[in-house]
Symmetry: C2
Subunit: 522 residues, 2 copies
Amino acid sequence: MKKIDKLVTNSMGKRVPSEVNGKPAIPFRGVGKYIPKGQNYGATVASCASFPTDGNKLVGSLKESLVNAGLNNGMTISTHHHFRNGDLIANQIFDIAAEMGFKDLIWFPSASFECNSYLIKYLEDGTIHHIEGSMNGSLGRFTSEGRMKGLGVLRSHGGRYQSVQDGEVHIDIAIIASPTADFFGNANGIDGPASCGSLGFALVDSQYADKVIVITDNLVPFPCVPWQIQGNYVDFVVKVDKIGIPEKIISGTTEITKSPDRLYLAELTARFCEEARIIKDGFSFQSGAGGISLAVSVYFKEIMIRQGIKARFARGGSNKYLVSMLEEGLIDYIIDGQTFDLEGVRSMRENQNHVWSSPFTSYNYHSKGNFAQLVDVVILGATEIDVNFNANVVTHSDGHLLHGIGGWQNCLFSKTVILTVPLFRDRIPVIKDEVTTVCGPGELIDVVITERGIAINPLRKDLIEKTKNSGLPIVSIHELKEMAEKFCGKPASPIFTNVPVAVVKWVDGTILDTIWQVKPSE
Amino acid sequence: MKKIDKLVTNSMGKRVPSEVNGKPAIPFRGVGKYIPKGQNYGATVASCASFPTDGNKLVGSLKESLVNAGLNNGMTISTHHHFRNGDLIANQIFDIAAEMGFKDLIWFPSASFECNSYLIKYLEDGTIHHIEGSMNGSLGRFTSEGRMKGLGVLRSHGGRYQSVQDGEVHIDIAIIASPTADFFGNANGIDGPASCGSLGFALVDSQYADKVIVITDNLVPFPCVPWQIQGNYVDFVVKVDKIGIPEKIISGTTEITKSPDRLYLAELTARFCEEARIIKDGFSFQSGAGGISLAVSVYFKEIMIRQGIKARFARGGSNKYLVSMLEEGLIDYIIDGQTFDLEGVRSMRENQNHVWSSPFTSYNYHSKGNFAQLVDVVILGATEIDVNFNANVVTHSDGHLLHGIGGWQNCLFSKTVILTVPLFRDRIPVIKDEVTTVCGPGELIDVVITERGIAINPLRKDLIEKTKNSGLPIVSIHELKEMAEKFCGKPASPIFTNVPVAVVKWVDGTILDTIWQVKPSE
């Protein structure tokens, strides 16, 4: 049985552990209220004298590289998720670790996918102690059931960078699956059979891990250009036959929704942005990779063509819709954090205005500013939103942890944050009195758009003023909640034990909320 | 009178200070013998909460930015030298500091040029305590005369990166003159009236300085792409009318020598490389920006066309000769550390295979390898070379400090290092019994090419073997020295006092040699 950590109450009124996996944790103090002091973590100093004079860092196998890197009990092992559900490397690492008898490893992925549910057996047999990173699907359910030894730690993409940079997470060994690399360790994601575009999620791992392993199935002569990952940070390079499954790297989910309800939601969102005069010459936007978000881009495009304007930049995951806008001159730049389809990869390869970026440039909150705050409007989703505009993206209303945070928290610093959601899903209201888990404080969420009405945060008097005669269905958030309850009834609250199973970090490393063990059914 | 520091003898037999400007110093222990321990310096942690929410970091003037950055007595102020003799910013910084009455500043440029001899008055009045960086021309002479308060510290480009990364030099304020920038602080050198190509010398300053100021005369809307300097590191942005004098940024010295003697030297060097079978398909090379080095590239080109081969990459300063080779398909990539002419700037702007790099990628010795060691052959110059192949690039035979080290030391890790020099200059031998100042240990120098003979380091038996029937004028280094003395006589040794005026650091931060005060003439 997991020991119950000491709990404190944070500024959101949430009970959170004061210690996470044996390390002291700072409770959330409010947006922008916790100002860190001191120095960033300094990586372990290296010397060229300790590396091959000819720059050739190739070793024979992943296992050999892990042995050379000093794999040992209790180490923190990091991977990236640019291959999404087509990743062939993360599971192999723990196969090797298990075969060698290592225990209590911490897996620190930038995100996990359903393909990684394979690792449940290693969570059960003690090879892996716990996961720090998003736990989607089966791994989330496993965690919610209280079956993981340590506490899960959920961070945003920017929070992951922050945690390593600040020394909160020390990576012992980073394994960077790289679609193209040279023997020195320079690597990129834009060429090769497993091409995935950006490799930005692995940047912090390369910069700060004690040992860095690049593994590739496409070894090219030095120099591998561009070097999204710099070989100067890399200890070992491994060449294998296959690092990813291309058709699963480039996900089939990146097609526009065909659902009329969702298309209506996307259209309403675009109309709102037009009426609020957010869409104007030189503006910027970010919308995610889901079906609604993709459709929003298409409606934006129509409005921009009609108005004869262009955007300065689009940020976020790239896809064929954004690429078409870039190539038609409707966008000056795509600032790409992860690349969702082959058109995105092609564009990044060919077009200097399709720029690869990283959680450092875009999202790191412990930085002298970041790109997210420069985006005029961001369109995001949520699993739940409450009447104080607080929102949840990690748990469902039944209390189960089923999603990661991604860049969602980081994007809340955009100038206008819109959550576009259906009013209810499977007859469960999305708008509620209180969200199961707070991932984003309501003060940062400006607009909630549903198919039956749009609620504007009262803090955004400017948006209320601009849209008051627009004919848009503007209502209060309370009205939205009541409409939802009229259709679905008042939702039952999930039943939890008093055992924390994971924590949700805020972008500054403080603890925003706790995820509790879901009470097993009798 | 400067106090005489305690001296120790290093592994080259050189007397060097055990303390430099109040900090303990490590004497040189031999190539690859000093292995650092511990962690790199961690920059001061920042928070977005302390920066403008809209990302706009513009302030009204350079003075305002320096005041905001907390300019104070004794601080270390850094600048880069990409504008060479056309720099308009470094002198202004110290005008402001002097006007405000600050004293004992340390100037930490990546190099200084003759235009900076203006700063001698501030070295004299105590505004600047000392310079850590190359001191060419008048500043060098000033130092050699013992007139600078502190000890000068000469580092290679890679050593400068290493010193900051390792925490040996703490930069309080970095001022980065940027040909193009946005209000967030993203900056590059490829666009704008003062375009200079790469901004790589300023990379370490941006990453580690407490406060970073970007100053530009070409402000563009966010995002400034490419961001060679990342705005996430930048505190303040200043827009002024003019940051550099274009015709002095792009130096007129980057033309091929017209001297028949020097052309012969260049041709001989290329012939040597061909006979030694260094020039082969897929090879790589670096040659500097001097007239001889440029001519070497042209002879290389002829050989490559004749042999029907191409180079994988050329490293180093770029210029129109390298660009023509890139565009004609004779080189796959230029890896550019500093850009010497407008053709280089244009090519970097247009061609993704003309890659901007930095002292981190190319030269930092406290790294997991660097690019310099991957270069097949590098052609460099020297002021003096001794019979043990030790070489000098900073002082002249009269003992005066007149040059910086640049990337010279870093390039000694190339697979074959050739020093191409005239046998004597102004009737003073270049090949001597002992160099005035050791900048590079002889074990790293493979070949000395003069107009009257080529000496191969006995350690390079392979090169001796490959060229023995080549018809090239292969002689011993002692024969070269004797030839030089036959023409010029035995050179008089410079006369020094026992007062150190500067130290030469090795690439690992240890002290390789001391530069002594030149004895004033009676």
